[in-house]
Symmetry: C2
């Protein structure tokens, strides 16, 4: 018998009517002969309501008690969904994170799952029940309530699927799958039937906010097939697995982009060992996350040029810090630009195919898009371009790599 | 070091501001050198909000899931109160019923407490923390969340006080103590400094809804001194204990009354053994609770007259059932009256004093109040009178027994 873990997010359970619709979906899955475990988030708006209450009590609520407070959000949903299932004649059992011993570390507000007790859930499934588990929460070894941080319900679902050795973990959300790129930018963007974990990680970290990065990497580590589907429309969604022979043989799976980038450049730093560390150390100390980093020897051979990107919100702070550091180090010039974006081609196919980078650069050149920075990894090529070129760059690349068409098998 | 359990009800924790005020009260108690355990209810309105959600899901929610849902109410409050305490520099630890193993039976929505694990709480108190426990909830032996039914937070507080061997259990509410009678009926009703458990039980069951009956009887059984105080005003409230030598030597402690009564009478039932059972059996089978019962032999010596009271809401149903039963039994007549009330004198002093009943009846006669029914117990005399005489009866008795004045010592 197939065991499926389904996860429904806050929007999917946002009202009693939507919870009723979720119950219908769960029952459909069960009636097809599957065992079903359901993980749910707090009803949309609930977490913010609770945070607003805490805010009226203290400007800096103690993390332990914040977890006790926030954990009630999912507990309300598990109860309501189980009632809805029972109301439809489907026996169900709800459990908080603590009740099924989702054991985490003690890092309140951002705990990590260590272990899940599967006995009770298996016993309920054996008895023919649907099991409904509160996402986002657990308990530490002392029995204190912990939460995994926002979006942690995805992680709960994947961790449960791994612990129960489920056949598939289905993440229901408000989009119907993973697309070759953002359909708002490229109207004929195509929904992918399958994508690999590695590709999904690159897509997710670049702004395709379909899934939490942590849950994808977790699913990859435990080899849990992950499927993204819509709560509101029918469809098979997108399956995220490891590469196999039956996989679509696309060179490129998708194009991700990130509008929130800003770039900073130091020109003419004396080229001594440790220059990158000296430049970036103070930035890291200020808790500013650095994304792309590119370093080139300058034409004079004695100095180096150094460029990196940060989140646009951190731009001003980073520029101040960098200017101070660079002055001390005797650099010639510091400059910055916060009107840039990052566009990335993602695809496991590029591992075995040459020429992808040159097609990319050629396409952009033909459209007159100036590339300001390049960075590559095994399954990704990222370029930084001026913000005004974002749509043009994404559309021309989507077209050049034929992403609107299903790949040839 | 004195250990005090304090309980704050829904109105006392109804807003973040009120929760802040409760935190101040708790800290004042702790700063006087006491160890403090606090039990809280859900914020007022929260339980109804949750019930309304459930109602949109199912007209008859499964009891197990209703408990999972409702238990979130108190969990929100324990988190917020602990935050408020920590915000004021007072270390606090919140616990759900499950976390401190408030073990109950499995009767969802109306569970009874069996046992409480006191180790964790004592360890926290030893470490100097205030402990905040969710009222109204527990877990059964399988770890399922249970609730004690509405008002169960009082019971939680008393049970905790008993388990922890606390020196006093303080119930904070929206009245400042137990009065000789309802001040809305008798403006110079006096707050009692002390009252015995037995008297309190009689007062509570007669409509002085200050405390849950169950929690009073629980406190009596485990000899936990109970104090009723106001959350909003200063004052020492009313202490409920066993009778002792220092006790106020009042004949009568108070006058309770109940407006929700209706009376039913069968006249001329053949006086055979088991007549009461035959008449009341079908009433009990219909889940109608019977309060006072009076039976008298009729003047003819061969038949008997039988009268009892029920809650006014059950009057019509009870009358139907009784008419059917009485007809079968060959009774002469069935009549009823739902415009009656019950007025009761309560006082442990009447055990050792004769003449109280006659003073009571004399007072009522002088005012022209016709007594329809009389029933007595060791520490209570109840009369049923027409509804229109309620205020007159209560005021004249309050006056006749000098209840506005503190008792002479």
């Amino acid at each position: 018998m197939t065991l499926i873990v389904q996860k429904y997010g806050g929007t999917s359970v946002g009202t009693p009517e939507r919870i009723a619709a979720v119950a219908d979906k769960v029952i459909t899955t069960r009636d097809r002969g599957n065992r079903v475990v359901v993980v749910v988030s707090a009803m949309s708006g609930e977490t913010n309501r609770l945070l607003a209450l805490a805010d009226q009590i203290s400007d800096k609520p103690v993390p332990r008690e914040l977890d006790v407070l926030l954990a009630t959000g999912e507990q309300v949903t598990i109860a309501l969904l189980s009632m809805a299932l029972e109301h439809r004649g489907c026996t169900a059992r709800s459990y908080t994170g603590g009740q099924v011993h989702i054991l985490t570390d003690s890092a309140h507000n951002k705990a990590r799952i260590r272990e899940i007790e599967d006995k009770r859930i298996h016993a309920d499934l054996d008895a023919g029940h649907v099991v409904v588990v509160a996402g986002f929460q657990g308990v530490d070894e002392h029995g204190n309530i912990t939460t995994l941080g926002r979006g942690g319900s995805d992680t709960t679902a994947v961790a449960l699927a791994a612990a129960l050795k489920a056949d598939e973990c289905q993440i229901y959300t408000d989009v119907d799958g993973v697309y070759t790129t953002d359909p708002r930018v490229v109207p004929d963007a195509r929904r992918l039937h399958r994508i690999t974990f590695e590709e999904m990680l690159e897509m997710a970290s670049l702004g395709s906010k379909v899934l939490q990065i942590r849950s994808v990497s977790f699913a990859g580590r435990y080899n849990v097939p992950l499927r993204v589907l819509s709560s509101f429309e029918e469809g098979e969604g997108t399956l995220i697995t490891y590469e196999d022979e039956k996989m679509e043989q696309a060179l490129i799976s998708g194009i991700a982009f990130n509008r929130d980038e800003a770039k900073l450049t130091v020109i003419g730093v004396p080229d001594t060992p440790g220059v990158a560390h000296q430049l970036l150390g103070p930035i890291a100390d200020a808790n500013i996350e650095v994304d792309m980093i590119v370093q080139n020897i300058a034409p004079d051979g004695a100095t180096t040029d150094f460029t990196f990107t940060v989140n646009r919100n951190d731009y001003k702070r980073a520029l101040d810090i960098l200017t101070r550091t660079a002055t001390i180090m005797g650099a010639r010039q510091v400059s910055g630009d916060n009107k840039i974006v990052k566009v990335s081609l993602v695809g496991v196919g590029m591992r075995s195919h040459a020429g992808i980078a040159s097609t990319m650069f050629g396409t952009l050149a033909k459209e007159g898009v100036n590339i300001r920075m390049i960075s590559t990894s095994e399954i990704k090529i990222s370029v930084v371009v001026d913000e005004k070129y974002l749509e043009l760059a994404v559309r021309s690349l989507h077209d050049a790599f034929g992403l609107s068409q299903p790949p040839k098998v």
